[in-house]
Symmetry: C2
Subunit: 369 residues, 2 copies
Amino acid sequence: MATSVVVVGEEVMRNKQVIFKDYVSGFLKESDMQVINGTLKLKLPEGSNGIVVKNLCLSCDPYMRNRMTRAEGPNLFTSFTPSSPLTGFGVAKVLDSRHPNFKKGDLIWGTTGWEEYSVITELEGLFKIQHTDVPLSYYTGILGMPGLSAYVGFYEVCSPKEGEYVFISAASGAVGQLVGQFAKLMGCYVVGSAGSKEKLSNFYLAYFKIKHYLFFVDLLKRKFGFDDAFNYKEETDLDAALKRYFPEGIDIYFENVGGKMLDAVLLNMKDHGRISVCGLVSQYNLDQPEGVQNLMCLIYKRIHMKGFVVSDYYNIYPKFLDVMLPYIREGKIMYVEDIAEGLESGPATLAGLYSGRNVGKQVVLIARE
Amino acid sequence: MATSVVVVGEEVMRNKQVIFKDYVSGFLKESDMQVINGTLKLKLPEGSNGIVVKNLCLSCDPYMRNRMTRAEGPNLFTSFTPSSPLTGFGVAKVLDSRHPNFKKGDLIWGTTGWEEYSVITELEGLFKIQHTDVPLSYYTGILGMPGLSAYVGFYEVCSPKEGEYVFISAASGAVGQLVGQFAKLMGCYVVGSAGSKEKLSNFYLAYFKIKHYLFFVDLLKRKFGFDDAFNYKEETDLDAALKRYFPEGIDIYFENVGGKMLDAVLLNMKDHGRISVCGLVSQYNLDQPEGVQNLMCLIYKRIHMKGFVVSDYYNIYPKFLDVMLPYIREGKIMYVEDIAEGLESGPATLAGLYSGRNVGKQVVLIARE
C-alpha cells in the first residue's frame, strides 16, 4: 500500500487517496483505481515554495481517460503515474502556504490530487476563488475549466451569429449544457444529443415528472432551453437523425465526442460551417481510434475545423467571470451537477462518466469545508 | 455510338469526343472512357445565349474522379452524365457567340467539354484570356484553377509567416509545385512528397541527368527550389519519414492527398499549425474512404484545418494574375507541365493521374489554334 505523510505541527494525518493502479487499455473500470489510506504531514518544510490544501471537491472530466494511457510522443497529455493518486481539477482550501500569492484559509481551484490533502508545488493555473455566493463546486464546472472551455470554444472558435443552426454533442455534460445556453442567448437554433444512462435516479425522474426515455430530451429542452434534443443511443442512423433535426443543415458543431457522430455531422454541415473541437470522448477508451471517413466534406462545404486547449485562454478568465457570475445570479444560465459523495465513490463515479451515467457535470464531493 | 451535331453555315463537322461510359467503382481505368466520332453544327440558333468553341487543351484534375461516382446527397459535385462527354477545365477559342461578353476569336478558359468542339451555355466561371505571351496551356494550370487554388489555399487559408515549416503532398502536381514556390518566396522551409511513376520518360531523365529513383527529389529541389523532398512510395513509415524531414514539426500542411498521409502529418504538426485542405486524391478511387484516426491531435496541437473551393475566390482572379504574370515572365516561378498529345490520349492520360504517371501538371493538347 502506497503511503504519503504530512504533519500539522507534530501530527501525521490520515490521507485517503484514489490511486491510479496502472496504465489502462480499453474501457476504464472502477477496479483500475483503488482507494487507500495514506498519511501526510500538513506542515511544509522551510524552503518550499508550495501550498498544502484540503481538497473539497473533485472534477470528473472526460480528458482524464487520456492520461491513463501510456503517453507516446512529446505532444500529448502527461500520463498519470502508476501507483500514485490521480490528479485533476478540484476546489480546495489552503491549510499552509510558503508562496506569497496564497495564504491559509484561501479557497482555490485548479489542479490538485484525488486525495483528502495535497501538497501543490506547481501553482501556475491555480486560481483564487473570490466569489463564494455560488456553490464552491461550480468552480469545477460552470466557473472553472469546463465553463471557460464552453465560452472560448463557442465564442472564440465558432464566430456564432444570430439565427444560426447549432448542434452540440454530449449536451448534458458540463461543457455542452453551457454551450447550448450561450447559443440560445445569441438567438441560435440549438439541438443537443446525449446518451441516456440505463437507470436514472428517482430524484431526477420525480423532479421532471417524466418517463425515463424522455428524460434527456426534457432536461435539455425544459431546463436548458434547447430547441430540440435526442438520445443518440436510441438512433440507429445518426445521419438520418441529424437530417430530421437539421433539414437545412448545421452552421456550428460543438464537438465533444468524435468518431461516428463526427462522420454523421460532416454530412450535415452547411457550407462555411464551423466545428469547434473540444473533446472526442467516444474515442478515449478505444485502443485504436475509429477512423473518420467523411473529411472530403471539409472541402465541398468549406468547413473550418479547429481544436483548442482551454489553458491557452486562462488570461481571459477574469473577463469570463464578469460575464458568467451575473448570468448565474440572475438565473439566465441554468446549471445541473451530478454530485457523488465521498472520495470512496471516486473510482465508480469516474468510470461511469464514459458510459454516460452522469446527468450534468459530474463532481465528487470530499468535504464541505 | 452517341452523336452530336454542329454546322458551320451548312456544314456538319466531325466532333471527336471522350465519352464517360458509366459510373465508376474503384480505380479509374482507361476503359471507363471511350473516344467516339460525334458530329456538331458550329452555328448557334437564334435565341441562344451561349457560345461555340474549338477546344485547344484540356486539364486533367484529380477532382474529376469524384464526378465519376454516382453523387449522393445535395452537397457534392454533380456527377458526369453516363454516355456523355466528360467536362472539365480547358482553354478554347470562340467560333460563334450569341453572348455580349464573348466574340468570335476570343480565347477563353473555364469549363468545357472533352471534345473537339463544344457548345457552352453556362458562361459563369468562363474567363477571357488577355495575355498570350505565355503558353495557352498555362491557363489550365499556373494561370487557371490550380494556380488560383495554390494561391488562395496557401496565402488566404494558411496565414504563412517567414521561417515557418511547410509540408506539401502531391508536390509535383499543378498545385503542389506552386505552393512550394510561394512558400520559398516567403522564406519558409519547404519539403514536398510525391509518388514517382514506374517509368519516367527518357526526356526527363536526360534533362535532369539523374537516376530514376532520384528524379522526384531532384525535380522538387533543383527545379522548384524545395529544401527537401521524398517519394512517399519508397517510405514504409510515413510518420518516421516526416520526423526525419521535420524534426521540429510542421507549421503548415498543404493537403492534397488525405488518408494515411494526413494521419502521419497530424502526428507531426506543431502547436497552432494550419492545414489547408485542397484535395484528398488518395481517396477518390476508393469505394470507402480510409478513416483518419489521429484527429485528437487537432485538440492537443490547437490545429486549424480548413477546406476551400477555389470558385469562391474567382473575384480575386485579376489580382492573382497581376501577381503571377510578372513571376512567370521574370522566371521567379518555374512551372512543369506533362503534355499528352491528342484527344485520343485523353482516357489513358486521365487514368494515369491517379497512379502518379504524370510529372507536373497533366494537360491534354487537342489543337494548337
